[in-house]
């Protein structure tokens, strides 16, 4: 197990350095503003990372409930599996209890992941701009969930989960998987910019009102 742990740690260092390099090049996501501020960037960032994510505020989620639910389920499974990997690295004793506990969720997450993979294959629109990296990323994620399921079922598979997680970490800063970090940065940057201008957080929309003149 120790060489596997070292492999994962090296993978994590690689992933962190790769992302740090990209973010440093991109000015760490901060933008120079010279126009006078109108609204609160902080409130807007908070909005965009919380309320703004929910279907009531996000048309892409509201109009695609099945895809939204599948995406949510997939990401919950991935987060739980990564938490399991973290425990295997830091507190293996806790992992012994944690991994079996998340076992019921992982097949659902894997099913959701495979459904999204199939959607990418069969949707004409998605095929029009999907790249090999898109298929690879979803398969890599499904693989992680499968490894998590195996490790949750039998401790002898934990080494496989660790080695697989190490491989995913190496791929992480290079391909589509890095959206896991860029997601938060993009929402924060865009939200902050709109908040500075007083656009975000948005006011409730009204449908009708009469003259008060």
């Amino acid at each position: 197990m120790i060489p596997a742990r070292i492999f994962v740690l090296l993978g994590l260092i690689w992933a962190s350095l790769g992302l740090a390099f990209r973010l440093r090049a991109a000015g760490c996501g901060s933008r120079d503003e010279y126009a006078p501020r109108v609204g609160s960037a902080t409130r807007a960032i908070w909005y965009n990372l919380t309320v703004g994510l929910w279907p009531g505020r996000k048309e892409s989620a509201r109009r695609h409930p099945a895809e939204f639910a599948a995406g949510l389920l997939l990401h919950v499974g991935v987060l739980l599996t990564l938490a399991g990997v973290g425990l295997l690295l830091a507190w293996p004793v806790l992992a012994e209890g944690f991994l079996p506990a998340i076992r019921p969720v992982l097949p659902l997450s894997l099913t959701a992941g495979l459904a999204l993979f199939l959607r990418r294959i069969f949707s004409r629109t998605l095929r029009a701009f999907s790249t090999p990296d898109d298929y690879l990323a979803i398969l890599a994620t499904c693989g992680l969930l499968a490894a998590g399921m195996l490790a949750a079922g039998a401790p002898c598979w934990q080494i496989v989960l660790l080695l697989y997680a190490g491989l995913v970490a190496i791929y992480f800063p290079l391909g589509k998987l890095r959206h896991a970090v860029f997601f938060f940065l993009a929402r924060a940057e865009y939200g902050g910019r709109l908040g500075y201008r007083g656009v975000y957080p948005p006011q409730a929309t009204e449908t009708e009102c009469s003259s008060d003149g």
């Binding site: 973010l23 090049a25 991109a26 000015g27 760490c28 996501g29 901060s30 933008r31 120079d32 010279y34 126009a35 006078p36 109108v38 609204g39 965009n48 703004g52 048309e59 892409s60 109009r63 895809e67 995406g71 004409r124 629109t125 998605l126 029009a128 701009f129 999907s130 790249t131 090999p132 990296d133 898109d134 690879l136 290079l174 391909g175 589509k176 890095r178 959206h179 860029f182 997601f183 940065l185 993009a186 940057e189 865009y190 939200g191 910019r193 709109l194 007083g198 656009v199 975000y200 948005p202 006011q203 929309t205 009204e206 449908t207 009708e208 009102c209 009469s210 003259s211 008060d212 003149g213």
Partner: protein, 448 residues
């Protein structure tokens, strides 16, 4: 023989031109790689859920109109040169080299299928500034000299003559003169008029040349309101154009040059603030992008006339009677003013005071749909059919309100709304907000 741009080399001069264009385009991508926008260029997960947020995709549902596909045309070029996999295994991530063909495809996507309205970004599952990414594509094309001719001509007009319609100074002065006479007659007051090049006034007012050339009653209305409010204002005969077509073309040099000229006029005339006529992109360009382009704050405030009108009404500087605007009025929210500019409520507060029955469109405010004429699309005749088709959503929004008048604080939107009203047989009147304020005005000579 095929050159490195993927084209037959027909002459060494043409080849050199193309090489120069590609180099300039790559320089733009290199510049973007050092900006926060690079995060947005690398974070699209190509989920394809952005379609319903885009007026082009909703009205013409083909893959090429999907915001994600349009953004990918830019991101694929960016990743080719600025990511490790793009440099080593471009096919794995779909990275593409900058070629003349790639620029042609990009022009069709960035200029012909996107108004830069930004609605897709607000609803993006990741939260990407999709319009910002597509705008990078416009910058790449501007650097490569591949801006569509119609738009390029307007930019050139503006740079060469000081206004986008190339109106001669004499014609502008003559229009201001006869409008002044008209206003004197309407108000019965000799002090009413349109002051030009008057130094030391409080406000430098910028107008859309469309007002000077085709819709002078809009300028007359603003002048009438300023007169009723006792405002101290002036126009500049040298630079009075609120629009910035350099901004539409994503030509940063032209944008900055046009902004700089306005600031020079403000300095020459020693005014205290600049007030912008109703213009969406003019506001976006001057209020928000200008300081960033010049990399310094302005020495004076730049505000929309909507904010000023709201102040007049709140302070009761103006007396109005909403029954003078008795027909139901709805409001179109210009994307550059509202979603990008943050001017959301002033126009609503004004309309509620000056019209009898105000009906909101659904959706509205930051979530409103673009009219289809934004992003300079009106100046690019080759995309006219797509523009009118994209206007179908706005037409339905308007129809659903039952309004007889559509107020829009943007002359660009007004042109598109006039066209879609005719095309979709809406039978509505298109008015600017200041025109409705002027109609409702209770001023000496206008009562009863």
């Amino acid at each position: 023989m095929t050159d490195d741009l993927g084209h037959e080399a027909c002459s060494s001069a043409a080849s050199a031109d193309r090489s120069g264009a590609i180099r300039a385009a790559r320089a733009v991508l290199a510049q973007v790689a050092r900006q926060p926008l690079a995060i947005h260029l690398e974070a699209c997960v190509r989920c394809g859920l952005c379609g319903p947020s885009c007026l082009f995709y909703r009205t013409q549902p083909e893959p090429a109109n999907l915001p994600g596909v349009k953004a990918a045309k830019v991101a694929d070029l960016y990743r080719r040169y600025h990511t490790w996999l793009g440099r080593t295994l471009p096919r794995l991530i779909g990275a593409k080299s900058l070629t003349v063909e790639a620029l042609d495809e990009l022009a069709d996507a960035a200029f012909g299928r996107c108004t830069g309205c930004g609605r897709c970004g607000l609803h993006c599952s990741v939260g990407l500034d999709v319009a910002g990414v597509i705008r990078v594509g416009r910058s790449v094309l501007a650097a490569a000299g591949a801006v569509p001719d119609g738009l390029r001509r307007v930019v050139d007009n503006q740079l060469q003559t000081g206004n986008q319609m190339a109106i001669p100074r004499d014609e502008f002065l003559s229009t201001a003169q006869w409008l002044s006479e008209e206003l004197k007659q309407e108000t019965g007051c000799d002090s009413a008029g349109i002051p030009v090049d008057q130094p030391g006034r409080r406000i430098l007012y910028l107008v859309n040349p469309r007002e000077v050339k085709f819709f002078p009653l809009s300028l007359l209305a603003a002048a009438g309101v300023f007169h009723a409010a006792g405002e101290s204002w002036t126009l500049s005969s040298q630079i009075y154009d609120v629009t910035n077509y350099g901004f539409f073309a994503a030509d940063d040099h032209a944008t900055a040059e046009l902004v700089g000229r306005i600031l020079d006029q403000a300095d020459r005339l020693k005014v205290q603030q600049i007030i912008l006529s109703e213009c969406g992109h003019g506001f976006h360009a001057l209020r928000w992008e200008g300081p960033r382009q010049l990399r310094k704050p302005y020495p004076l405030p730049v505000r929309s006339i909507l904010e000023l009108l709201n102040e007049y009404l709140v302070r009761r500087t103006l007396r109005v009677d909403p029954s003078r605007n008795a027909q139901p009025v709805t409001l179109h929210d210009p994307c550059n003013l509202v979603r990008w500019g943050g001017i959301v409520e002033p126009q609503r507060r004004v309309l509620r005071r000056v019209v009898q029955h105000f009906v909101e469109m659904t959706p509205n405010r930051h979530d409103n749909f673009c009219c289809g004429g934004g992003g300079g699309l009106l100046s690019m005749s080759e995309y006219g059919d797509r523009r009118i088709a994209a206007g179908a959503i706005k037409a339905e929004q308007i129809r659903a309100t039952g309004a007889k008048i559509v107020a829009t604080p943007c002359h660009n939107c007004a042109d598109q709304l006039l066209e879609i009203s005719k095309h979709y047989k809406l039978g509505v009147e298109i008015r600017s907000v200041v025109e409705l304020v002027y109609s409702a005005l209770l001023a000496p000579g206008r009562e009863g």
